[in-house]
């Protein structure tokens, strides 16, 4: 079956790399009828589809559970996946009483004494706890996400004025998440490492032919609802009754009597993650035991070991030394089982090995099974960074030098520069970090699995007392010793202890990004059922 790109929103098909300016407008619906008209206006005039970009701008839209609940009805909402219905900050037990039981988890945060399924699974503990978030929690719920992209800052300002300021109705801004200008030639995150290299190769997309190793090609149903996934079946997709409103929509794969609301849509996971650049490099600089020519190179080497790549993106398994050349074509073309089973080049607990273990999932799996399993837990990433970088060229020497000039730094970023735009204040209370965004057809099997089983589990790869050094919380009340990282060596490993958290989650939500027909259905349904 061919991919119906014209019915998909453009973000599924491309990351809009040429549109270097972007902003994410997180909205709350205040008046359903008016909001519906506004969404109709957007759907008809502005939402960018997966077809070739016709204009130098793009607009996409997605809805949270509460957004869907307000525009549709409970029966339809209940056909969505459980994770989406509950939301990222769902609290098991739903008891709002909090206690002070978080000293072990580092925290300023306040947690419930009740067990909390999702925060526990995602590692949103202590400072990362939803109760501390800027948005997406009980205090600042979000209904709609509007993603706006343009070729530069000025064009973005014009576009947001055109599509939002001049036309919005029935919605108000909860949070305005701006981004730092994207550099397609040198896309870096704030620690200074190249980002977005390891994207899945999706069957049926134009880039499929660029990757020769067919074993790594992934069925589109892993990322787009309504297509076959890696189990050769369909990920669970929401559905609606067949009637005049849903006319023209495709039949649901599991129940041909219903129409597929998910077809050509996807789930979008959005997490705003604050990065503590100075704390990161300070730890690397003061604690490194790696061998290199200078202290700075030693620090870079330890940072690279934690990430699994050198700052310029070269994977350690292909370039174990800082000088080893790697071509662009092979930046993502490597495996671990044959080349680095002991983690001598890329440590077993490194960020990229946890996020995508490729052919070397431990616990006795053979390379073929590992690769098959890895393909069932991939994510299509679409995030961008926000906030001023420590060094605008992301030069690691400068970042480290900046650190050393400034002496000792606390774990929290010390400067904040909220920017006022025509539509509001961007990134209120935020300093620098990443708007992590990924598209998946099954939130639990893909995003939550990677977060829980590979990133946050201390027993990954038969390690002990280690979690993802970049993005996992540590230590936790259940595992007070879980603050280590090991770099295997030819003789005896280097063990690093008391690694602080270099990131904190400060916002997040699960969204549904509908296909174009589904978006029109949502608008039509809302209009026909009392919104008008």
């Amino acid at each position: 079956m061919g991919l119906q790109t014209s019915d998909m929103q453009g973000l599924i098909v491309r990351g809009y790399k040429t549109l270097t300016a972007a902003t994410y407008i997180l909205l709350k619906i205040t008046d359903v009828a008016a909001a519906t008209k506004y969404f109709d206006f957007l759907a008809v005039n502005h939402i960018t589809t997966g077809e070739k970009l016709k204009k130098e701008e793009a607009v996409n839209i997605a809805f949270t559970r509460s957004g869907i609940a307000r525009l549709l009805n409970d029966d339809i909402l209940n056909t969505f996946s459980r994770e989406f219905i509950e939301g990222m900050s769902f609290r098991q037990g739903a008891d709002k009483k909090r206690d002070q039981n978080t000293k072990m988890s580092g925290g300023e945060g306040i947690e419930s004494a009740e067990p909390e399924e999702r925060p526990m699974m995602l590692g949103d503990r202590g400072k990362n706890h939803p109760s501390n978030w800027h948005w997406g929690n009980e205090n600042k719920p979000v209904d709609v996400l509007l993603m706006v992209y343009a070729k530069n800052k000025h064009a973005l300002e014009e576009l947001t004025t055109n599509i939002f300021t001049n036309h919005h109705q029935g919605v108000e801004i909860v949070y305005l998440a701006s981004t730092y200008e994207y550099n397609p030639d040198n896309p870096r995150e704030h620690f200074g490492f190249m980002d977005g290299i390891s994207q899945p190769t999706i069957k049926g997309f134009s880039k499929e032919n660029e990757v020769e190793d067919k074993r790594t090609h992934i069925n589109p149903g892993e990322f787009i609802l309504g297509y076959e996934n890696e189990y050769n079946s369909f990920s669970p997709s929401p559905f609606v009754d067949r009637n005049t409103i849903s006319e023209g929509m495709d039949a649901h794969p599991a129940d041909p009597e219903k129409n597929d609301l998910g077809k050509n849509g996807t789930y979008l996971v959005f997490r705003q993650i604050e990065q503590f650049v100075e704390a990161f490099w300070e730890y690397m600089y003061t604690h490194t035991k790696e061998i290199a020519a200078s202290k700075t190179e030693q620090a870079v080497k330890l940072g690279a070991k934690m990430v699994g790549r050198w700052p310029d993106g070269r994977p350690l398994v292909q370039a174990p030394g800082s000088g080893c050349p790697v071509t662009d074509a092979t930046l993502n073309d490597f495996t671990y089982a044959d080349t680095d089973k002991d983690g001598l080049m890329c440590p077993l607990g490194a960020h990229i090995r946890r996020a995508n273990p490729r052919d070397h999932i431990h616990a006795g799996r053979n390379p073929k099974d590992s690769l098959d399993l890895s393909k069932k837990h991939r994510m299509l990433r679409r995030g961008r960074i926000y906030g001023e970088p420590v060094d605008k060229d992301f030069n690691i020497d400068n970042i480290i030098h900046h650190h050393s000039l400034n002496g000792s730094h606390a774990c929290n970023n010390t400067t904040k520069k909220p920017v006022t735009t025509s539509i509001g204040i961007e990134n209120e209370n935020a300093v620098r970090g990443i708007h992590f965004m990924c598209l998946v057809s099954d939130i639990a099997r893909q995003f939550e699995f990677v977060q829980n089983v590979w990133a946050n589990t201390s027993s990954f790869a038969a390690l002990h007392n280690e979690v993802d050094p970049i993005m996992s919380p540590r230590p936790t009340p259940e595992q007070p010793d879980c603050h280590e990282f090991t770099t295997p060596q030819e003789m005896t490993r280097n063990r690093y202890k008391n690694i602080p958290e270099f990131t904190t989650v400060v916002g997040g939500a699960y969204f549904f990004m509908p296909g174009m027909k589904a978006l029109k259905y949502i608008v039509k349904y809302s209009m026909a059922n009392g919104a008008s």
Partner: protein, 450 residues
């Protein structure tokens, strides 16, 4: 005493009335309460894991399967020793639980022998497998401590530059000296942990049984197919007695009809259970490393299915350490209770249930698990009972069936909740390699374990 791991599983029908709820509450109380009167399985040296769960009434065709209390333990050593040890250390707890069960007539002063006999009487065979076989509870604790000691020593030696320019053998020598200098604390670690004769016998038994089963299986297939081949040959003019050959085909035809019936029987796959139920189950899966699950489902229709399934479980139980290939497992078992009409699955594993069971669907593991689950009501029908379809092509139906059949394990004990089977086995390798004869290359490999 040997250190072979075993799985004891007993199922007790519960008395009618409010006893079901009361037993459930009692299990929860025992699980959550650390004070006096609580379960203390830590005292029992033979007990590695304990699960206590109340299965609700379910229906096999129209027959009601009663609410049942399942008590499952993973133990180390002989079963008799384990049960005696369990009774000696947790007698009051067992009595409190058994009081709710039918046909238990002993009061609070029931003698040990009566409890022992009652437990034995209600026990079932399963295809139990443990991935940490031959490692006792004490071994696990000791070897964890040894590993930590060595790790700390390496850290301190590295800080002092004590390993600079040394070979792997020399580094290991220094580690050995440090452990020896610790005195009696690690005296047990000065020799590798060797298997005793009973443990070796177990390894040989499993291997020989596995080979015998393979030979027997091939011979059976040959014996069934040979008359068919001869019949065809006779039909093509070869001088064989056609009547005799045809009559030789009768067992094959019979088996074909019976198995064909089972294989082609279409049953209804479970649909998505209420989210509230899944939430309730998920709330029991919040341990950071190891978790436990119990699922139960009546068997699907088919006259011979209960007997065939129970027989195969019994056979697989003889060789489960070879045939069980799920790497995230600490221990696992399938069994049939209620006169072979209800399938029960129990396991302790790394991660949470949903992620654990979904990752069964890969490679050959999927085929094996397909066979084990396809007989349970609500699970997707597998082609040839294992090969394709079933959980392989309907992962969502499979997950719905798991959620439908899963029950909250009210009482769960694990001797080391933060250690996976991989880590326990790795610690054993560290201990065994410490004073073992090694080459430089061996020593390098050994150092990689640390």
């Amino acid at each position: 005493m040997h250190r072979i791991h075993g799985g004891f599983t007993a199922a007790f029908p519960i008395k009618e009335g409010p006893e079901v709820k009361s037993l459930s509450n009692m299990l929860k109380f025992l699980h959550n309460n650390n004070g006096p009167g609580a379960a203390n399985f830590e005292l029992s040296q033979t007990t590695l894991f304990v699960s206590g769960v109340v299965l609700p009434e379910q229906y096999y065709k129209t027959e009601k399967l009663p609410p049942t209390f399942v008590l499952a333990t993973t133990y180390c050593g002989p079963l008799k020793t384990h049960l005696r040890d369990l009774i000696a250390t947790n007698k009051n707890i067992l009595l409190k639980l058994l009081m709710f069960c039918k046909n238990f007539n002993g009061g609070y002063d029931a003698p040990d022998d009566e409890i022992y006999a009652f437990l034995k009487k209600h026990s079932y065979h399963s295809n139990f497998n443990s991935r940490c076989n031959f490692i006792s509870k004490q071994d696990t604790q000791n070897e964890k401590a040894l590993k930590n000691e060595i790790e700390d020593y390496i850290d301190s030696a590295q800080t002092q530059g004590a390993f600079k320019g040394l070979s792997a053998m020399q580094i290991r020598k220094l580690i050995q000296r440090h452990i020896m200098a610790c005195g009696d604390k690690y005296a047990w670690a000065l020799k590798p942990c060797k298997k005793n004769w009973r443990e070796w016998l177990e390894i040989v038994r499993v291997y020989i049984t596995y080979q015998l089963l393979k030979i027997t299986g091939l011979a059976l297939v040959g014996a069934l197919v040979a008359p068919l081949v001869l019949t065809i040959a006779a039909l093509f003019g070869y001088k064989y007695n056609l009547t005799l050959c045809l009559s030789g085909c009768i067992p094959l035809v019979f088996i074909g009809i019976v198995l064909g019936n089972l294989m082609t029987l279409k049953t209804k796959t479970a649909t998505r259970p209420p989210d509230s139920r899944i939430k309730e189950l998920a709330a029991t899966q919040l341990n950071p490393v190891l978790n436990e699950m119990t699922a139960a489902a009546p068997l699907k229709r088919g006259f011979l299915r209960p007997h065939l399934y129970a027989f195969i479980l019994r056979v697989l139980g003889l060789v489960s350490s070879i045939t069980s290939k799920i790497p995230t497992v600490s221990n696992i078992r399938w069994l049939v209770i209620d006169n072979k009409k209800r399938l029960v699955f129990l396991s302790c594993f790394s991660n949470t249930t949903d992620f654990y069971v979904r990752d069964f669907i890969v490679g050959d593991t999927a085929k094996g698990v397909n066979f084990m689950f396809t007989h349970g009501q609500g699970f997707p029908d597998a082609k040839w009972m294992f090969k394709t379809k079933g959980i392989i092509s309907d992962p969502e139906g499979y997950m719905h069936a798991v959620h439908t059949g899963q029950h909250v394990t009210e009482l769960w004990y694990a001797h080391e909740k933060l250690l996976t089977a991989d880590i326990i086995n790795k610690n054993r390798k560290i201990r065994n390699g410490l004073f073992k004869w090694m080459t430089e290359e061996d020593a390098r490999e050994w150092l990689k374990l640390l």
